[in-house]
């Protein structure tokens, strides 16, 4: 009798411990990663070189033809003068506030809708209509209502992030396995316990994916609002320098924004990896 059980445990141990074949796989993977990184670096350098070239040759309109070197020079002086820092802070503060606020509300709303199918049926068409409207069109309205401070930016970004996170939570809750609910019911779980201990963890992967998307859209919403009218922020800087035809500044800020977005995305991915480490790898 015990031999069979030992075999069971034994096979399991084999399943989890990395064998030598796994290590060889690791080396091949790493070589490929290095190769990929080299290619990516090459593309990046190539792109900058091309940009520099087109700027020097003035292939485009002289107003637009500003080189990476010029953008860098503007960047350095903007950092030194403090202008870049204060505006970046203004934008990122608005992004953070709107993202956190709208995500919490969106997640709770989405979870609740997932649990109340009748309510969902009633509200769904209204939500879909609201989501279909280009929210950027609300920006002037918010600016008139709240002024050119941080509130208008946060308001606009919230309208974007809310729907994203709500959809994620709603979808996440649906993927709950009925067996878990049955078992919890027989174990005497209260509705609150089911909500916290089952529904929330079930929805977490979907919520997390939505959070990651939401962050990007929060940035979009804030910068969008700033472009239209704001007293500070990176979007406002882009607007100002565009009207002054100082395109090198605009290019520098655009690159900064995309770097920022990439960084945020990477941070979220890392957080997701850690929080969701209980998930089976997708190639299983």
């Amino acid at each position: 009798m015990s031999e069979v059980l030992k075999v069971d445990v034994g096979t399991a141990i084999d399943e989890i411990a990395p064998g030598s074949r796994a290590r060889q796989q690791g080396r091949a993977d790493r070589r490929r990663t290095v190769f990929v990184r080299c290619l990516q670096l090459g593309i990046l350098i190539g792109w900058f070189a091309l940009w520099q070239l087109t700027a020097e040759l003035q292939i485009l309109d002289p107003v637009l033809s500003k080189s990476p070197v010029q953008a860098w020079e503007w960047f350095v002086q903007a950092v030194e003068s403090g202008e870049l820092w204060s505006n970046t802070m203004a934008t990122m503060t608005a992004v953070l506030i709107s993202w956190v606020l709208a995500s919490v509300v969106g997640a709770v709303f989405g979870l609740a809708l997932g649990l109340l199918p009748t309510v969902e049926r009633v509200i769904a068409p209204f939500l879909d209509a609201a989501n279909a409207m280009p929210r950027i069109a609300l920006a002037p309205l918010f600016i008139v209502a709240f002024g050119i401070g941080i509130t208008a930016k946060v308001a606009l970004a919230c309208t974007l992030v809310f729907f994203i996170v709500m959809s994620g939570a709603r979808a996440g809750v649906r993927s709950v396995d009925q067996e878990w609910l049955r078992m919890s019911a027989v174990m005497g779980a209260s509705k609150l316990q089911v909500f916290v201990k089952i529904l929330f963890p079930v929805a977490t992967p979907a919520i997390f994916a939505a959070l990651r998307l939401g962050l990007i859209y929060a940035l979009l919403g804030v910068v969008g609002s700033e472009l239209i009218s704001a007293k500070d922020g990176l979007g406002q800087l882009i607007s100002k320098y565009s009207s002054l035809f100082q395109m090198e500044a605009v290019y520098a800020i655009l690159i900064l924004l995309s770097l920022g977005a990439v960084l945020l995305n990477l941070l979220m991915l890392a957080a997701e990896q850690w929080l969701l480490r209980w998930q089976a790898p997708s190639d299983m």
């Binding site: 009798m1 069979v4 059980l5 069971d8 445990v9 096979t11 399991a12 141990i13 399943e15 989890i16 396995d177 067996e179 878990w180 049955r182 078992m183 919890s184 019911a185 027989v186 174990m187 005497g188 779980a189 316990q193 201990k197 089952i198 963890p201 977490t204 480490r277 209980w278 998930q279 089976a280 299983m284």
Partner: protein, 254 residues
């Protein structure tokens, strides 16, 4: 003078009906009478759709009977839930909890303190010989291991009655026998819990249970005491004449 044995589960004329999607009224249980005394291991068998899982669900208060009464430990099924342990067909392990976390789940729901929870869960995980797997995630466990974690989770709550819905159906033959023996060992090691075991496998039913009830179309067709002595050797039990007699009778009735 005889002392009355406390009946753990008592079903009287239980009728359960379901409305099918096209509006028809489906009678799944047709007035079932069943007495399960405390400490008995009873197996419910029958082909798919005979109502055995519905009967189990009715005892667990997951399904309301249209008429008739069900008494569990002297109370109605919902009130008696705290005395029940439920093992579903698939292990229903929560994927975001480690093996130990899963065993702790029921205790957490009951508000048992963290230290005490840990101790009890570790003890039961050890009883099913999975101490080394306590930090693993469910996806890292084999089917047999998962079912054993589910066993530990159920046993950690120390229920008086165990309701089991084809718990070993998803296991391959070798693992199944090993887990069955593990289960019997646990069951026999202390004051015997009442077990209601649903299965479509006649051999499993006769091998494990004290009593086998055959259901067909919502009625009890056969109710037979197994009468084979314990402890039983599950590998050789098929050779036992009494086993073969019951197996033959049940199989011809299905």
């Amino acid at each position: 003078m005889t002392t009355a044995i406390a009946t753990d589960i008592d079903l009287r004329n239980v009728v359960v009906e379901f409305t099918s999607p096209d509006g028809e009224n489906n009678r799944v249980l047709n007035g079932i009478d069943l007495d399960v005394p405390a400490g008995q291991f009873i197996a419910l068998v029958g082909k798919s759709g005979c109502g055995k899982t519905t009967l189990l669900n009715a005892i667990a208060a997951l399904v309301e009977p249209a008429s008739g009464s069900i008494t569990v430990c002297g109370a109605n099924p919902r009130a008696a839930r705290k005395n029940l342990g439920f093992m579903p067909a698939r292990d229903a392990l929560l994927p975001w909890r480690s093996a130990l976390g899963n065993v702790e789940y029921g205790l957490e729901l009951r508000g048992v303190g963290k230290q005490e929870r840990r101790v009890i869960s570790r003890k039961w995980l050890d009883a099913v010989r999975l101490s080394s797997a306590e930090k693993l995630w469910p996806w890292q466990l084999s089917q047999g291991m998962r079912q054993r974690v589910a066993l530990a989770r159920t046993w950690a709550l120390d229920p008086e009655i165990l309701l089991m819905d084809e718990p070993f159906a998803a296991l391959d033959v070798t693992t199944r026998v090993a887990v069955q023996e593990e289960f019997l060992r646990l069951w026999q090691s202390e004051r015997r819990k009442t077990v209601v075991f649903v299965t479509h496998d006649l051999g499993e039913a006769i091998g494990l249970a004290d009593r086998v009830v055959l259901l067909a179309d919502g009625d009890v067709l056969y109710d037979v005491d197994v009468g084979i002595e314990r402890p039983r050797d599950l590998r050789d039990i098929a050779a036992d004449p009494r086993f073969q007699e019951i197996h033959h009778r049940l199989r011809s009735a299905i």
